[in-house]
């Protein structure tokens, strides 16, 4: 299988996951798309040299590092000039109009950053505790503690919201 085809499959499989991880953390649709492009541009540049057995954890880690970097520098993403970003504005409208999605994202917003990351990775994207531990560079036990705390808070928040 050619490199390009392999990469296309990888992109098809993970790009929405990465986009959602970035979007639900930043709540900035265009930034999430830009960062997603950046993640996969980096992935493409090293595609021939990376191990393909831990791709999911690897690509989430790249996204996580980029996001942390972005938070730290708080600067605009500068994509290369030839890189015309393309945004799916219909998706933005769809998310904004969806009541269930609004309820869930509002609950997520209440969580502190670390719990929010664990919640997105574990409950939305369905990654294992082990993978989340690798991505966030914490122990697996720590992930279990964080996910428990996140769920307790989410439950409280959603019950409050329903009352």
């Amino acid at each position: 299988m050619s490199n390009e085809r392999e990469f296309s499959q990888f992109y098809e499989k993970y790009s929405d996951k990465i986009f959602r991880y970035l979007y639900f953390q930043t709540k900035n649709f265009h930034l999430a798309e830009d960062l997603t492009s950046e993640v996969f541009t980096k992935a493409w540049e090293v595609w021939g040299n990376i191990r393909h057995d831990y791709l999911q954890a690897w690509v989430f880690k790249v996204a996580h590092n980029l996001l942390v970097d972005w938070y730290r520098k708080k600067k605009e993403m500068k994509m290369p000039e030839h890189f015309e970003a393309s945004y799916d504005d219909n998706l933005l409208e769809k998310i904004q109009r969806d009541e269930e999605a609004n309820l869930l994202t509002r609950a997520l917003e209440v969580l502190p950053e670390k719990l929010k990351r664990v919640a997105i990775l574990r409950f939305i994207e369905g990654l294992s505790a082990k993978e989340v531990a690798v991505i966030l560079e914490v122990s697996e036990v720590n992930v279990r503690v964080l996910q428990h705390r996140a769920l307790v808070k989410l439950k409280e928040e959603m019950k409050d919201g329903q009352e």
């Binding site: 790009s15 492009s37 999605a101």
Partner: protein, 221 residues
């Protein structure tokens, strides 16, 4: 084990009741709804096309040539090193052909380098004699020198240097080599006479010296 059961198990390990764990797992399942939101195919295709085209142009092309470029650089460095190292080589040594080739190139770049080459040949004769190398090598080098000398009409300070080198070689040479060097020196003197007054004076002086020497030896006899 499916993801829900795994989560339940992990929550139970935390020491909470099964009912509470089930309730928390229920909330966790609710969030999987957000994973149904996906970007359109057109956005993804647009990105992929841009990216792969960019890599073909910007990344693959130079990478393909990295080994070739590295090879050329290594060759250049080795080549330059060999040329530098060859400059002190003597006839019969492995690097000597490189020295001669570099001299040919040097003459093309800088024509008056020819004079330097003539001196070099005499230095080689001197060094070969000093190292007591094969007389054949000395003879060939002397021939090279004579040929170069014939081709060059220019007379300058370097001629004196050549003479000094050959005189030094003569002093340290064996019988056969001495004769060869003397022959060359004689021819050199004759050829040089035709070129200028200054050298004529030197030759006369030399002849005079040798006459004086023979005269004085006669007197001694």
């Amino acid at each position: 084990m499916d993801k829900n059961n795994q989560l339940l198990k992990e929550l139970l390990i935390r020491g909470i009741s099964p009912a509470e764990a089930e309730q928390l797992a229920y909330f966790a399942r609710k969030f999987s709804y957000l994973s149904t939101f996906e970007r359109s195919e057109s956005v993804k295709t647009h990105f992929l096309e841009k990216l792969t085209r960019r890599k073909e142009k910007v990344i693959w092309w130079p990478r393909m040539f990295v080994p070739a470029m590295a090879f050329v650089i290594v060759l250049l460095v080795l080549g330059a090193g060999t040329v530098v190292a060859s400059q002190k080589s003597l006839p019969g040594e492995p690097l000597y052909p490189v020295k001669r080739l570099s001299e040919k190139v040097g003459v093309i770049v800088k024509p008056d380098f020819e004079q330097q080459i003539i001196v070099r040949r005499t230095e080689e004769v001197r060094d070969l004699v000093e190292k007591k190398e094969e007389p054949d090598l000395v003879r060939k080098t002397l021939e090279d020198f004579s040929q170069k000398r014939k081709k060059s009409d220019e007379v300058n300070g370097r001629f004196e240097q050549s003479l000094r080198n050959l005189e030094e070689a003569k002093e340290k040479s064996s019988e056969d080599e001495r004769k060869q060097i003397e022959n060359v020196l004689e021819r050199l003197d004759d050829g040089h006479d035709e070129n200028g007054e200054e050298v004529k004076g030197e030759k006369s002086e030399k002849k005079g010296n040798s006459e004086d020497r023979s005269r004085s030896s006669g007197q001694e006899d």
